[in-house]
């Protein structure tokens, strides 16, 4: 590479900027860890004098936070984690059971108006949340699935379906037709071909799709907020927010909330996404890029 005389060296500036950028990105994170292992939480980063697992112990033994305000969430924290799991698994099931046949059909069928159908599916996926959330509440109220975890899971799954159908279609496109012709020669019918030949050989795609949907159910906030109105069925995000908003809503009363407990709960909450992400990093970065590319 030619270097022109008088052109300043960008190396130094570049690394300084990069360092600042990295600090900027991780700056909110240390608080979660210094707090979760501390005896008493603080609303700023403070290195704990004593490292303890007491907060996690309290969460898993379903004990209440050490709070001086009337916050008795303790016995429900267990349920929050379970509820989140149920919600995420139902959403995952919806996408796998309904989305994968649809993706397969869209990959194999040739008909006029297929592009139109694909665009329509994408458009359904782009429906703005703000516009649909209030009527969704009314509709679900009439259907009787407000405060129903399975129903909410289905709604969240239906929200994830459009993109997952696109994703799965792209995966099925990679599986050669010859495989199915072979299966038919050996006497499989259509359903058997799908469930015993095509789906097993598209394992990576299915797994990626399943995990992405699981995460969208696990972290979902808006739909759960609209549809889960009673504290009995709160999921982890709703629970964390209901604890946290007493900090924000109460203004200066934040000293009274057990921030250590809240941080420990937060760590329990972010572990599954980070774990999935670290385990499948290459595939997921590819999919994330691919998904965007597909949206072009």
């Amino acid at each position: 590479m030619l270097k022109k005389i008088g052109e300043p060296s960008f190396k130094f500036i570049k690394y300084i900027t990069l360092l600042w950028f990295i600090i900027y990105i991780i700056s909110p994170l240390p608080w979660l860890f210094t707090n979760a292992f501390a005896v008493r939480g603080a609303s700023y980063v403070k290195i704990p004098e004593e490292i303890t697992l007491d907060n996690f112990y309290r969460i898993f033994r379903a004990m209440s936070p050490r709070s001086e305000v009337g916050l008795m969430h303790g016995e429900r924290v267990h349920k929050w984690i379970m509820n989140s799991l149920i919600l995420a698994l139902v959403a995952m099931g919806v996408v796998l059971l309904l989305g994968s046949p649809a993706g397969y059909a869209l990959s194999r069928l040739r008909f006029r108006g297929k592009d139109l159908l694909m665009t329509a599916i994408l458009l359904i996926g782009f429906m703005p949340m703000t516009a649909k959330m209030l009527p969704l509440y009314k509709i679900c109220l009439d259907m009787g699935i407000v405060n129903n975890l399975v129903g909410t899971g289905i709604v969240i799954g239906s929200g994830a379906l459009p993109f997952q159908i696109w994703l799965l279609k792209a995966f099925f496109d990679y599986i050669p037709d010859e495989l199915e012709e072979q299966a038919e020669l050996f006497g499989c019918n259509r359903l058997e071909t799908l469930f015993r030949v095509v789906l097993p050989s598209s394992g990576v795609g299915l797994m990626a799709s399943a995990f992405l949907t699981f995460l969208s159910g696990w972290g979902n906030f808006t739909t759960s907020l609209i549809l889960l109105r009673s504290e009995r069925v709160y999921t982890l995000p709703l629970g964390i927010v209901s604890v946290a908003t007493e900090i924000y809503g109460g203004g200066e009363s934040s000293i009274n909330i057990d921030l250590a407990y809240l941080s420990a709960l937060g760590i329990v909450f972010i572990i599954p996404p980070l774990l999935v992400y670290l385990l499948f990093r290459r595939a997921l970065i590819g999919i994330k890029l691919g998904r965007i590319a597909m949206r072009y």
């Binding site: 590479m1 030619l2 022109k4 960008f10 990295i22 900027y24 990105i25 909110p28 609303s43 700023y44 919806v94 046949p101 649809a102 059909a105 869209l106 694909m118 994408l122 458009l123 359904i124 782009f126 429906m127 703005p128 949340m129 703000t130 516009a131 649909k132 959330m133 209030l134 009527p135 969704l136 009314k138 509709i139 289905i154 709604v155 799954g157 929200g159 379906l161 799908l194 972290g219 906030f221 808006t222 907020l225 995000p237 964390i240 927010v241 209901s242 007493e246 924000y248 809503g249 203004g251 996404p273 980070l274 992400y277 670290l278 970065i285 994330k288 890029l289 965007i292 949206r295 072009y296």
Partner: protein
């Protein structure tokens, strides 16, 4: 006739069978995604309420809800706030995302995956925990923001109260710049290396290469990226809702974070006026829908 039909069915058996696979997936999508959006149009023209007499006995009132909105005590404020929030977030998210994308694409391939992983962390963490994380930065006495301000000999700000809108923007930028980064990385990687090599042969400077090769070639991804960021911000709910105090029944609404989505939610669930809430939601919805059409059009899907 029937024989002919039967023959046709036999002929297209495979296609029909595969077509049946589509229907189970389309049903929940239509019922829970498309139908509510259409229902919003209808509800916004009624005086439906969540509680009270109008919950059961509601009627069509035409466009009265939209006529009422400018006279609503807080709607103009909320609309202005949303504009400020969206504009600031758009600029900052795009610039930070672009810088991050340039870092990732210009680093050696050994570093690239690690750097991408690191830069994507704010995007991976579930949304509802992020406002809680930001508490540590916003703390008045020893939060990071005020520490930095004090170190620069600037007056510390009350990030949790006076400057809550700015806190919200900074949270949204931190949480969402990676979205712009993802799009721009794939755009930057699609530029052929040969262009830069030829530019090097002719002795082009760094800036010339950037402004004459890079920018023109990723013009369309940039526009697309801006559209998508704007859509995401105007449709945003979680951060503003949580930072604003969550509105548990008796809590006052903090008008510093009441962007339109949050205001529509409060209109419906706190004042019970579902019709007006739907009208606000529909305004946002129409903006997003037009932008989506533009985006699909540009993408050539």
């Amino acid at each position: 006739m029937i024989r002919k039909l039967w023959f046709k069915i036999q002929l297209y058996r495979r296609e029909i069978f595969l077509g049946l696979f589509l229907i189970p997936a389309l049903i929940p999508m239509v019922v829970f995604q498309l139908y509510p959006a259409l229902k919003a149009v209808w509800f916004s023209m009624t005086n439906i309420a969540i509680m009270g007499p109008h919950a059961v006995d509601w009627s069509f009132i035409g466009l009265k809800n939209f006529g009422y909105l400018p006279r609503d005590p807080y709607f103009p404020h909320s609309a202005k706030l949303t504009g400020y929030y969206c504009a600031a977030s758009l600029v900052l998210r795009f610039i930070l995302g672009f810088i991050a994308a340039l870092f990732v694409t210009s680093s050696r391939s050994k570093w690239r995956i690690g750097l991408t992983l690191l830069f994507l962390i704010p995007y991976i963490i579930p949304g509802s925990i992020k406002p809680v994380l930001y508490l540590s930065l916003m703390d008045v006495h020893s939060g990071l923001y005020n520490r930095v301000l004090r170190a620069l000999h600037l007056p510390p700000q009350s990030w949790t109260y006076e400057r809550l809108t700015e806190s919200l923007i900074s949270l949204n930028v931190w949480a969402g710049y990676a979205f712009a980064m993802i799009i721009l990385i794939s755009a930057l990687l699609s530029i052929p290396k040969e262009y830069y090599e030829i530019a090097d042969i002719y002795g082009a400077s760094r800036w010339t290469k950037f402004f004459r090769i890079t920018l023109p070639l990723i013009k369309f991804p940039i526009i697309l990226c801006l559209i998508m960021i704007f859509k995401e911000d105007i449709d945003d709910f979680t951060y503003a809702y949580v930072l604003g105090g969550g509105g548990g029944g008796d809590q006052p609404i903090n008008f510093k974070t009441d962007i339109l989505a949050v205001y529509a939610y409060y209109k419906a669930f706190q004042y019970g006026e579902l019709g007006i809430g739907c009208a606000i939601g529909l305004i946002v919805g129409i903006i997003v829908f037009i932008l989506t059409l533009a985006q699909l059009r540009m993408g050539g899907v």
